[in-house]
Subunit: 258 residues, 2 copies
């Protein structure tokens, strides 16, 4: 499977039915989390994002009912992600490769920065990215850190984890801090227990990866956080991407470097 | 008049009726723009801010009907600014030192970063700030640049202007770029005509200041922009600060340095 394709080709394959995590796909282009809610919940969701900018950096907000975005003008948000989750009252009632039949005219979609976007910059700085090496989805964990709630929405911070060799932790911090729109610097370096994570080998989302001797688990805020808020707050309806199965945009990743 | 007081003392004087521009007051503490709208317009306003982050960096959003903010726990947003403007259908129907009689239970207030916040950092870098030297309000101008609209809200970008000696323009850019939450780097350096500004001596808001030979007019995005959107889009009701008469917070300005 050739991941090193352009974003349009990647989306075309996902639209045709390929269901794979998107880490490493279309290198050089930003990826995004998707969370779509009915218009009457959109204020709470946008305020939740504003109040929790580390996990929820907003890249775009669609018009109600629209399934397009300037982040990828030719794309269709209903079909072009490799996998979606459909939520009713906080329960995941379906996981699908095509959300068309669930999309509603009153849905507002937030596209939120994804840390896959800075992985090319990590590789360019000779920082290893283990889930790419092992061809897996990134491991993600629910934490014991509460997000600041907004209206009817609240829930825990979700993080992604990358094991980094101790001498390169500072480089990983420095490189990713330059990308605040895609989660930026880590929220936690080392000791998983400090986030209430008891077992790195059992992530709440995605796949476990190998942590070698001399490596430190480094945690970044994760755009699955709105899904955790949906689980905790049980709104009537929502559509999200499946964790790790992101929206590949046409925006060069360096656009988000500051 | 002693401006070099703490933020609580500054707010106390404004609450007691002092009506002066706040540039130079409570040095070392962040200041904020205020724009409050009915809850049913709050989504459009928050989305307008999200889509126009240079003029509208959101520092806090209040709960509907609340007149308090974590940015200054002891403060009352209805009384503690030196001057307010009351807007009905896009017309300024009153300017007052006390907005209590106009405040409504359905109002949501956005507090938006203000460039007065980085002026101490400019002074610390030996960059002159002319309106402080001349003890005037900062000059502000409507531009011919359209903001990206959101729902029912749209309007032009408003900018503040500081004349900077040519050898110090780079320093002014470098210093203010470190404060993205209070408008960050300039949006335009030099030629006012490029923004559609025909006469620097006639600002749309605030006071004119002297521009000396060898100085370049430098323009920063301004938190009066939401007021210009109110004027252009004519929502039923809004309350704002009067331009230059800001909310003085308890947040140290260095908090917003990145």
């Amino acid at each position: 499977m050739e991941k090193r394709v352009g974003p349009d080709e990647a989306r075309k394959q996902f639209r045709a039915g390929l269901r794979v995590p998107t880490a490493g796909w279309a290198p050089g282009y930003a990826q995004a989390n998707l969370i779509a809610v009915p218009r009457d919940l959109a204020y709470d969701l946008l305020l939740f994002a504003q109040r929790n900018p580390k996990p929820c950096p907003v890249l775009d907000v669609t018009e109600p009912g629209s399934h397009t975005t300037p982040l990828a003008p030719g794309a269709d948000l209903r079909t072009d992600l490799p996998a979606y989750r459909i939520w009713r009252h906080g329960e995941c009632v379906a996981e699908t490769g095509d959300a068309s039949e669930y999309w509603r005219d009153d849905l507002v979609a937030l596209l939120i920065g994804c840390s896959f976007t800075f992985e090319q910059a990590l590789l360019d700085a000779a920082v290893p990215v283990r889930h790419l090496e092992e061809d897996r989805n990134v491991p993600m964990y629910r934490t014991n850190v509460d997000c600041r709630p907004a209206g009817s929405l609240g829930g825990p911070l979700v993080v992604s984890m990358r094991p980094i060799p101790a001498p390169q932790v500072a480089t990983a911090v420095r490189v990713t801090a330059r990308y605040p729109a895609v989660h930026g610097a880590p929220v936690h370096v080392g000791d998983p227990a400090g986030l209430g994570i008891t077992d790195l080998s059992r992530p709440d989302f995605g796949d476990p990866v190998t942590v070698n001797d001399g490596e430190v688990p480094v945690f970044w805020a994760c755009g699955v956080t709105p899904q955790a808020a949906v689980m905790a707050s049980r709104p009537e309806f929502a559509i999200s991407h499946a964790p790790g199965y992101m929206f590949v945009t046409d925006v060069p990743d360096r656009t988000y470097e500051v």
